[in-house]
Symmetry: C2
Subunit: 587 residues, 2 copies
Amino acid sequence: MELTDIHSSADLKGLSEAELEALNDKLRAALLVKLSRHGGHIGPNLGVVEATLALHYVFDFPTDKIVYDVSHQSYVHKMLTGRMDAFVNPADYDKVSGYTNPDESAADLFKIGHTSTSLALAAGLAKARDLKGGKENVIAFIGDGSLSGGEAFEGFDYAATLGSNFIVVVNDNEMSIAENHGGLYENLRQLRESNGTCQCNFFKAMGFDYRYVAYGNDLHRLIDVFREVKDSVKPVVVHIHTQKGEGFAPAEADREHFHYGAPFDITTGAPLNMDEEPDYGDITADALMDMMKADKDVVAITAGTPGVIGFTPERRAQAGEQFVDVGIAEQAAVALASGIARGGGRPFFGVVSSFIQRAYDQLSQDLSINGSPAVIGIFYGTVLGMNDVTHLGWFDIALVSNIPGIVYLAPTCKEEYLAMLGWAMKQDRYPVALRVPGCKVVESGRTFPDDYSELDRYSMVREGTDVAIIAAGSFFGLGEQVADTLAEKDIKATLINPRYLSGLDREMLSALKAKHRLVITLEDGILDGGFGEKIARYYGTDCDMMVRCYGLKKEFADRYDYSAMMKANHLDPSDISEEIISLLCNS
Amino acid sequence: MELTDIHSSADLKGLSEAELEALNDKLRAALLVKLSRHGGHIGPNLGVVEATLALHYVFDFPTDKIVYDVSHQSYVHKMLTGRMDAFVNPADYDKVSGYTNPDESAADLFKIGHTSTSLALAAGLAKARDLKGGKENVIAFIGDGSLSGGEAFEGFDYAATLGSNFIVVVNDNEMSIAENHGGLYENLRQLRESNGTCQCNFFKAMGFDYRYVAYGNDLHRLIDVFREVKDSVKPVVVHIHTQKGEGFAPAEADREHFHYGAPFDITTGAPLNMDEEPDYGDITADALMDMMKADKDVVAITAGTPGVIGFTPERRAQAGEQFVDVGIAEQAAVALASGIARGGGRPFFGVVSSFIQRAYDQLSQDLSINGSPAVIGIFYGTVLGMNDVTHLGWFDIALVSNIPGIVYLAPTCKEEYLAMLGWAMKQDRYPVALRVPGCKVVESGRTFPDDYSELDRYSMVREGTDVAIIAAGSFFGLGEQVADTLAEKDIKATLINPRYLSGLDREMLSALKAKHRLVITLEDGILDGGFGEKIARYYGTDCDMMVRCYGLKKEFADRYDYSAMMKANHLDPSDISEEIISLLCNS
């Protein structure tokens, strides 16, 4: 059978064992070719070729329903559900997203990109089925790394009470993005070592029936087990032990590196584009490692993404007890940071903008109400960062800056970031969040103060008249460009680096009234609930001061083009300059 | 020993067993007197008198450190740590909060009011201790009901890896606020029935040592066990089975009712003030029960607080499979609602404003990105609601309204709430959140539309000139008062009910420019990131339109006086009217 002959689960039903084996090989080979040319989640998808094919052979999608956790491992599922072209035709590679997407196929139930959500989402499908008297199978497919997230636990706890068909496939490849951490993983190890027979069993303790598959890349064994649990009338876990990166030696050998990656040489695994520029993760890790050497109370914390803060395996080994990976568990990470600070330690928790969303309540309750002087580094908070709809870095300003008590700083370049990081880690008065300035490192060559304890003091970088440009964090460069463009037209604009996203410099804003008729705000995030609106409110009753806020429209965009997105939001120096001139002329 | 002779754990150390027993009785008696006169968390505190006394007898606080989960059960801890006056002198009853509070005593480590946070916070204390080479005991004290929250699981998972002293006391009284739900609770039952010996053990599966105390109200047995685990060098769970409401027959008999309550007759348990007025919970439950009868796909969901949405034990029994309690697990509740909606069901998840904070990411990712037409009812979102710092209902507008795709409606009265609820539960286009209009039911006698599918259309209730008052939700009444006050001074104000918190009626806002010079916004929440700022931004470049936003200052206030808080934020009809007149005269 050719790959392009497969359009749905139905096309697999009549195949012999040998035909299935041959098909499995073709799927993995095609997948590897696309991954090598296009990049993506390499190890997770190579590891589940057999499991996915077995599921599609045994079950009937989309009648039966499957929810993939994170859904970064759903490539083979896509290949088997009408989207083969996007895996075998290079011109069509970008026709599908890297995650499940109901817009692409009825076999995809949800747009998913965050971890640990599959059980509760699938439990909802099962509950709706039960109310309607349906009989289809509902399956949640979750990796061991995602088990550490509290939402997964909550999902197990509820789903056990369904009393009806509910199948959880736990894909245990002994890895999160990096190695796993946590007490639960010791139990998974015991289960693997006892071939699933040890009495103390997390899944049974949660109320599930349980089956273990020691070699989860054995297509036929998987088919047998899935047949056994199909149409089961009570919740069951099928724990399969798989090889991350199966069938591609470099990915099997370096599972962390090949979790996600850019195009690579299909023979050696070597990256095709060598990018040796240090990123903000490296910069952060270097700074923290220096602090750790000087102060044993400094602790770097990650929630399952050590690479984001530059903690390579080498740096993790060097940091020893001063590095903590709580697993994918942002809630615990924030609470832990608060507890460490309360106990006199100096914690830094580094987290992706899209994932800090998982800990709003912990930022508010565990951290800020308690005034714990922990530091939260928020990475990739920018329109020029991840552009999958589930990973947008647009919302953290509205999320963090409106929580009382947290000082949210927006450095504009590497030098200012390091100055603010240094202050934040030394002070003991405030919870401090740092918005890492974009993805691409900007070196300004400027020097910055080493003390930010006098809150909400903006920095006036250029003094002009008529228009003041308040350009926050990663959009400070855009502000400079606007000021330069205006200067070419003989308009001398004031340029301000606000530094603080969480409060207003009322003194400076008041003083601006003397010589300015227009204030422009620029922020790298959505306008709603953001920084600019606070400025607009401040000047609301000043008849002689106009305010124009620039930022992103509140929406969920998916895989957008960066230039088009900037243009659509008028984030272009010449557009902004023209509008400024127009406003000044007409007022 | 008299109660007032106790100032810290140290005062207990020399007591004999008989003296301890006598003290225990005095503690319970005094506690019951205060509870009967003052109200509070009745059952949780009566149930842990022995456990708290035993802990203070065995450990040395504040050298040793204890973190109480939710901390609503910390009354006896307060009695034993220098705050006895607040329990034995009626004049001093309000000198302490109902939760742990470091401002009151060094024996309290954190301000805590939300569930499931104790393990991760305490783990932070333990980690800081280990970095510093300290030897003190660190204890987390958590009830069985709080175990269902994902953050508790994340805390277990991390704490198991500490490899040092970490003691978790699991206070199992077989109840959350109401009865427990979830697979985990079956394991707790098995553990109780096997006297802690059953092989499949959640806590052991998480990597903890384990001890069981069958009668957790036996002071001496508790002392023995706490002595055994004191100074243990690895994480251990002490699972104690206690009686909620111990020693007060009415509270033992009706554990749900006596979880939290107002003053009651100390003999019979009968409430001293009978309040028979229906609240928005009753109104909600009645409406949902009617819908359930007509449509088997309607499901009411709670995360451990069925009383908030009026689901009494009787209504829960009537609703049967159409009522779901996921336990205290807001994340799963939102994801479950999204899944049910995706499966064709009609879910309503009712939740307290302060607790929806625990599910920001689920509102964004699981619900809104997927456009699932689930309904989220948000209760007690008002400055006139709960006034403990950990339970403020001020933040939900900024939290919910800035998430793309969620329609956030703010009904102004009972009639409009029911109209909007009816529409939300029938439609299948949008995730809808409803901000229940305050705590006290307002009946306007007005009729309202039954269709809100044309989004962001404000309703002009009175048409005037010069000033337009946009008064949202529970502050609509305040807006009416301002308009009435202005009318007495011959100023005919426009009054608008915006209805939608999540978007602007640009057409109406534009039309206002013709006859108005000032727009006033009124919202029952913090100004930062809220509703008014969006209006201020909209008019930012209109030189002829002033905007003044009224709402709450961004801060964490604790046990504030309602009138003083309203006044401090200028939320007074005459103050607002005067300012309007001043602005109109000076512009």
